[in-house]
Symmetry: C4
Subunit: 253 residues, 4 copies
């Protein structure tokens, strides 16, 4: 295995599935939202994605068993549309790797019938918001009108979307897919469960499913702890002293 690989662990026929992506990024907003969604709606794991572009490490679990660093696809049996939810430990680091891994994600999503993608992330403003807004960006102009009604703000977010949240839409569009990126307003310098909650509430309105967000805070803490551990390990792997890490938040990307 020298290329990124999607290993299907359960073959499921999916009904017009929508791909939902929530990988680690700014404020861990997308990750927290997607991880919480999976647990609340009891989505079922259908595939693992492993990649030579992830760190060359395996994780030691408390029970004495190791596991590879990976991304995971979950399936949820929806009313109108099934959901294919993409979560994971990390994103590929280099630019070339992001394109390669995103391509493999889309290959699998297309094979399962995905035609629409919703990516979740944070939009860093450098300020703390008591009630974070949710910004949107779409692949095709007519989608702006369709999603505006859910309170999503269009035309205000500027700059660019880095990583899978952006590339899945960009490369998906090239393949004839449509999509939406939901970005929760966030400071950018720390983990933000409030922003994740705002994104998740908007998403649940779009998908017309109910998601209880009561336990979101405590799960955010688990996510943060794991992200910090990954960051530490990454530094150790590079031979950098772990003591220097302190309150380094560069993992929140």
């Amino acid at each position: 295995m020298f290329e990124t690989e999607v290993i299907e662990v359960k073959k499921v026929k999916m009904k017009s599935p929508i791909l939902i992506e929530g990988l680690p990024g700014i404020g861990l907003v997308g990750k927290i939202a997607a991880d919480h969604l999976i647990r609340e709606i009891k989505a079922e794991k259908v595939a693992d994605l492993i990649s030579p572009h992830f760190p060359h490490q395996v994780i030691m679990q408390k029970n004495g068993v190791m596991r590879m660093i990976k991304n995971r696809f979950y399936h949820y049996n929806g009313k109108k549309n099934d959901l294919l939810i993409l979560v994971g430990d990390v994103q590929a680091v280099t630019s070339e790797a992001q394109y390669e891994v995103t391509g493999k994600m889309l290959d699998y999503a297309q094979k399962k019938g995905v035609k629409f993608i919703i990516t979740l992330g944070g939009y860093g403003t450098g300020r703390v918001q008591p009630s974070p807004r949710v910004f949107g960006i779409v692949t095709h102009k007519p989608l702006v009108e369709r999603f505006k009604k859910h309170g999503i703000i269009f035309g205000e977010a500027k700059g660019s979307i880095i990583g899978a949240a952006g590339l899945l839409l960009g490369m998906g569009k090239v393949r004839g897919m449509q999509g939406l990126c939901l970005m929760g307003e966030t400071h950018g310098g720390f983990v933000d469960p409030k922003s994740a909650q705002a994104v998740l509430e908007t998403l649940s309105k779009i998908l017309e499913i109910k998601v209880d967000t009561k336990k979101l805070d405590e799960r955010a803490k688990e996510s943060e702890a794991f992200a910090k551990k990954m960051e530490k390990e990454a530094l150790a792997a590079k031979g950098m002293p772990i003591e220097h890490t302190k309150h380094d938040l560069s993992y929140i990307r």
Copy 2:
């Protein structure tokens, strides 16, 4: 998609087309000249080039719609020769990537019948010139005489030509193509519409087409603003603090 890809959006039969390249480089001279040329002669977009060697980001546009980072080919219906004009947001960053992307550009150009290439760029001198001269470098010795008559200065520019402006000629020559690089004299430390104008005027003499350069200045400002934004994003993508950028002009390459 893991390789650079040229996506033809309009199939056009071209009449002995000349490839004109103006991607971001020193002083943005080539980019400003080519962008202005496209708009003034109303050239029509025929292909997009996307690449895993470009930044792993998508650009958020004011209308709420995203777009990928890319290079673009435009077509112009000339009298003797059609023009195939190559412009874009960025150049690939690493050396290997430059060779790969340039190869794909030449594949497409050859498919459309290109046998001659003119690349546009700046030649940094560290000095500000009131009326910048235009230096030339060619792929084959006899071309020196042919282009000297247009006031292009040969034999004075030293060193090497970095990026697509040089490699398109070098790799094109290996494929049996001929070409010319036009370099406007420029300081090197800032965006230089005056140098771009000198290059464009020389180019229009060679091509025997008229190009109004009145609006060139204001378009140069757009180019500069966009280049600065790209630079900022690139730093953000690397987790570098944006505050440090200040007046960093390293994007002018």
Copy 3:
């Protein structure tokens, strides 16, 4: 040769072989243990592994003959199980390269019939232990019980296993193999023959073979000297001044 290559120098039919890995890593624990094992049980070299992901250097030997930087596989004719022991000068440096090289190692191991892997390494604690413990991590839950009886401690080691010791198990598991990583407690800041001895004693209990560890100390010194030389050369190759190396122990990874 642009890919990693395993060059079989002796074709041997192996009896249910177990792969034992001991490449350079934290405190050189795994390397010292495996190098010592090979010499004591008089294992025989069966294959070389060379890779473009190793340093672009050849080593000058005292006899005036050069040799490539490589990893080596040794074979030992065991009672129940044969052993296929993997040792070497270096590990690949980048993450992508580790995945590629590990894949080639597993290809060869599978071809020889390997179904079980034991990797050897150190577990850095930042403290010096008079009698270092041995920690274990397995690929499958039931193996915990099986190996506990040998005094191996499960569930205490945290974080992740970097490099071949981890990836061989992780990628091997994907291919249906099982495995165990033995980690000797070590400070992490220097070469640790005592920890290597603890690991080797545990390993010999598991394999039910006798290994004399008397000469282990002096061999550890050879390993350390070689590792230091490699480090120096690596710095020289990067154009870094060798004087700065001093007591840099970053090679102990």
Copy 4:
């Protein structure tokens, strides 16, 4: 073209050719010796080697014509053995690239019938020698005796040989070829024509050809000037200020 490519410009049948390599390296010793050899014996260019692993630049020549950065093969019609001499502007920079490029060099050499390789380089000692000695390293033990008689010193040089001078022998050996590396004693911190002369004199004894070394000094100056220019350009390509270069000699590798 995305891979390294050898472009044969003249097809010549060669008589048991020996490959002689002299690319840029420590003190430019190998390069000066090989460049001088080519001119004195009037060897004829038979092939160019271009590579995406070379800098993404083209060189502007005084006559107004550009050329790619490349390595070159020259042919010389010898009495017993023909010579195939490899010289060039640069070596590939990364480790992976060195393996790839060296592989392509060997492909071509094998196609022309090469079975023996002599690589030329410097051996840095940090001291200036009035009459530099020549050290040797061979691929196979019996060659030590064979070359000792020419005054070459074996068993004294330690450490490793970096780049093409080492890899050509190492990878050639894997393909069943034999070879010798000649290293002129040199300080390591500056260009050393004296050391190049010592190497060239030893080489001419081995090859039983006469080479006048009178003009070697002045040619060494050209080599140094070109190497400095390349270094400057390389820094400029990375966006580094050229002012900082001063007396940086890191190009001498």
